[in-house]
């Protein structure tokens, strides 16, 4: 019989080394998978396209950062909830709703110039995302409905709502009936911070948010409240923390940030609202959050890593005609190995000969 026994003193070095170990294991496994299925292509050139090219070409680097920004933002919000034991699985839905509500404000003020426009749209996006996550908070605190189910199901509703809006009120009047909104005008688009690329100010905001979150978790009572509610609910009550407030707080924050990320996609790289808005950022951010062990600064790095699998995956799709699920395979393996390594930091494997140890 095999059992996992907690280690008395988890190794400090391994805590930092385990992500690298997971990455190595992922690469090795991927190598064997490719070697097995690819008969006529050089495996090393696939690896080069996947992992190296996106890091040496300026265009790919900028795209990498473009993809990382929404992942950072959404993962930050989710990590707060996960710390509190509130499982918001539907950030994708909140992201879509934020894109719609924020974008709607932009479309309403079509051709109106003003520095206030983007802040106003951001506010609308945050409120939209908050409202959408708030539904789950309401049902959970009032009727003990599981937030995992509610947030997940509402994601599908959000995607359908998006398509209804694009077929109807939001459709571009001069867009040949394509289900797309008008392209946003300059005053409603995020400023580009790297000329000649699509990289916009969203990345800077995402990084700032990481540090704000880090401060909140380290230095503010609300961070402590979330941590205690997640790890010892009775102790949280003893401290006088209201668990319902914590649930609301966690869901509103993660919903709001996801909504803002949705808007930034719409008025950033996309430039208009399209049916292609949902890109699984909301789900991928869950992987990002766990890869970073819910640490706000580490989220920046794991977002970059996951963004790399996106860009690299797209490239091998284009150059070698490989299926797009390559990206998913990588993300899945990465998470699997990372979690496995993490378990072995905290626990050791012990083999038992007898089953009957004690009555």
């Amino acid at each position: 019989m095999i059992r996992l026994i907690p280690r008395t003193q988890p190794s400090k070095a391994m805590i930092f080394l385990s992500p690298l170990l997971a990455l190595t294991l992922t690469a090795v496994t991927a190598f064997f998978i490719f070697a097995f299925i690819l008969t006529d292509i050089e495996v090393s050139s696939v690896f080069y396209t996947l992992f190296v090219e996106p890091l040496i070409d300026t265009y790919y680097i900028s795209e990498l950062l473009v993809k990382a920004a929404p992942l950072i933002m959404i993962a930050l919000g989710l990590s707060i909830g996960f710390r509190a034991g509130v499982w918001n699985i539907g950030a994708e839905g909140q992201y879509v709703i934020g894109g719609i509500t924020g974008g709607a404000v932009g479309l309403y003020f079509y051709n109106v110039e003003g520095f206030w426009l983007i802040p106003l749209m951001s506010l609308a996006a945050i409120l939209g995302g908050m409202f959408y996550a708030g539904i789950a908070a309401f049902l959970k605190t009032k009727y003990q409905v599981n937030e995992i189910l509610v947030t997940l199901m509402l994601t599908y509703v959000a995607v359908l709502f998006l398509s209804a809006m694009l077929q109807g009120p939001m459709r571009n009047p001069s867009g040949f009936n394509f289900p797309e909104s008008r392209p946003f005008h300059d005053s409603a688009l995020l400023p580009i911070i790297w000329q000649g690329t699509r990289l916009n100010i969203g990345l800077i905001i995402a990084v700032i948010l990481s540090f704000v979150t880090w401060f909140g978790i380290k230095r503010h009572l609300s961070g402590l409240q979330i941590k205690i509610t997640g790890s010892a609910p009775r102790a949280a009550k003893f401290a006088g923390f209201d668990d319902k407030k914590t649930i609301w707080f966690a869901l509103l924050i993660s919903g709001g940030v996801a909504g803002l990320a949705g808007l930034f996609e719409v008025i950033g790289p996309a430039g208009q609202i399209t049916p292609g808005l949902p890109q699984f950022y909301g789900f991928t951010a869950i992987i990002v959050a766990f890869l970073s062990r819910l640490h706000p600064i580490a989220i920046i790095f794991s977002s970059l890593l996951i963004a790399l699998t996106y860009i690299g995956g797209e490239n091998v799709q284009i150059y070698f005609n490989l299926p797009s699920s390559i990206t998913n395979i990588f993300q899945g393996m990465l998470l699997f190995y990372f979690l496995a390594c993490d378990v072995l930091i905290q626990y050791k494997i012990v083999f038992f000969k007898t089953i009957r140890q004690k009555l």
Binding site: S222, R234, G240, Q357
Partner: protein
């Protein structure tokens, strides 16, 4: 003379820590032998070696004069060693008979155990109905089930781990009768405890351990309680007494507080009333599971009570949450240390923030000043002699006694006008217990009020000048301690007398 069990020079280490260092003891057949020691003295390690769940690094054991080195509890049971653990392993939804059958190593399915259970139950005064569901039984009755389960194996040595910590005085008396009878019939008993009065009553031999080493093998009846305690902790105990009890005005009252429990196995509270004066220590005695947890939740504020059912300094506090109550200078120490009074996976300094008054140096508009928090944590550690490497050690890494001292210190450092504490010395070693009792008395002497909910009657009788008994969710009036007070309390605890 041939010994039942002879232990010679047993040593067992965990890493650098010697949990048992060269320990020898001999148990005579048909004797009741006490194993005394504080938490961490090495009692459990030694017992685990005897019971086969651990193997010693060096040393030998002889069972009935023959070499004995069990590799597992199974082998120990085959030899005739049985053990009643402090925490029972019974299935609540099964009957007594089913539980007993499940515990046996060799099950003949055709045997009728009911008769055998009744036989033992009659022979040793272990009052039990085999068909009753364990979930409905009191703690004492559950212990009787465990004992019968052991007797089914015809043991030659019965190990009892802290058996009386959960029993009422009457149940303790009954248990002693059973144990004496068992010894008369030839079954040796190894009795693990840190309650010295009991050991003096029951045992004719005692082995005292301290810090993993053997202090002495002696006859406990030759020594008084004080001497035994001092051997056990290795230093002089401070005599506890309240110097001057000066009580002031009423500061806190509970008025007709009732609560219907939402939990299936919870206890409803009926019409509880109580008044506490400044400078007095009030005790609520009672056996566990009679509504203590439910009452404590209301007193802390984890569950809302009707506003005017709790009045503190003339203010209705029933609807306030724990944090708001602390602002009025009410502080609390819950029974459960890990997971309730402290977060196991957080450092002491972080745990410090669970209980904080509004105007403190620890936080400013919600921003935590870690420097001050650590300073305060260090102060608690120093003032209350908490043994820990640093203020950042995880709560779960501290021993029970040390964590309890920390939790008591955390609240006392706020100078509470009212302290409500449940089981202040539960599972705490004698030295720490003495320290905690001293701190509580000092707090009351300076004019604060203290409410103690405890199952440890000795504790209540030592500290409190006003005693109530909680039984089946009802609180008795204050017991008049003159004229057979102990007997009255005992009767109230089992619910046979209503006042």
């Amino acid at each position: 003379m041939k010994y039942q069990l002879e232990i010679q020079n047993i040593t067992k280490s965990y890493g650098d820590l010697k949990a048992n260092d060269d320990i020898s003891l001999s148990i005579k057949p048909a004797s009741i032998h006490a194993l005394l020691g504080e938490n961490g003295a090495g009692k459990s390690t030694l017992v685990k070696v005897i019971y086969g769940s651990l193997q010693a690094d060096s040393g030998q054991m002889q069972w009935c004069g023959e070499g004995y080195s069990p590799k597992s509890p199974f082998e120990a049971r085959e030899q005739g060693i049985a053990m009643v653990f402090q925490h029972f392993s019974l299935f609540e939804s099964l009957t007594v008979a089913e539980n007993i059958i499940l515990g046996l190593d060799d099950i003949g399915l055709d045997t009728d155990f009911t008769e055998q259970i009744i036989k033992y139950s009659k022979q040793y005064g272990l009052d039990i109905n085999p068909q009753q569901v364990v979930g409905d039984l009191s703690v004492g009755a559950r212990q009787r089930v465990e004992i019968i389960r052991c007797l089914m194996q015809n043991p030659k040595l019965l190990i009892m781990d802290e058996p009386t910590s959960v029993l009422t005085p009457q149940e303790v008396t009954d248990l002693f009768i059973t144990l004496r009878k068992l010894a008369e019939d030839g079954c040796a008993i190894l009795y693990i405890s840190h309650k010295l009065e009991e050991v003096r009553q029951l045992c004719s031999e005692a082995t005292i351990l301290r810090g993993g080493q053997l202090v002495q093998n002696c006859n406990p009846q030759d020594h008084n309680k004080q001497e035994l305690a001092e051997m056990m902790i290795g230093k002089k105990l401070v005599q506890l007494a309240r110097s001057n009890i000066t009580t002031g005005q009423d500061i806190f009252s509970i008025n007709n507080l009732s609560r219907k429990s939402e939990d299936m196995f919870g206890v409803d509270l009926h019409d509880i009333s109580l008044t506490i004066k400044q400078g007095s220590i009030v005790g609520i005695a009672g056996v566990a599971g009679n509504g203590q947890d439910e009452l404590m939740e209301l007193l802390i504020g984890e569950v809302e009570a009707p506003a005017d059912s709790l009045i503190f300094k003339g203010e209705d506090v029933g609807r306030l949450n724990p944090h708001q109550r602390r602002q009025l200078s009410m502080f609390f120490i819950p029974e459960e240390r890990l997971g309730h009074g402290a977060v196991p996976d957080m450092g002491l300094h972080e745990n410090m923030l669970l209980s904080r008054p509004q105007k403190s140096e620890m936080t400013n508009y919600g921003v935590i000043n870690w420097q001050n928090v650590e300073k305060l944590t260090q102060q608690v550690i120093d003032d209350f002699k908490v043994q820990t490497q640093s203020s950042k050690m995880l709560a779960k890494s501290l021993s029970g006694g040390n964590l309890q001292k920390f939790m008591v210190g955390r609240e006392l450092i706020q100078n509470p006008e009212l302290l409500i504490v449940s089981q202040p010395t539960w599972g705490v070693d004698a030295g720490s217990e003495n320290n905690i009792h001293q701190s509580l008395i000092a707090l009351a002497d300076q004019g604060s009020a203290i409410l103690i909910i405890s199952q440890d009657l000795d504790e209540i009788l030592t500290l409190c000048e006003q005693v109530h008994v909680l039984s089946e969710g009802s609180l008795s009036a204050a017991v008049d301690m003159e004229d057979n007070g102990l007997e009255k309390i005992s009767n109230l605890m089992v619910g046979s007398e209503k006042q």
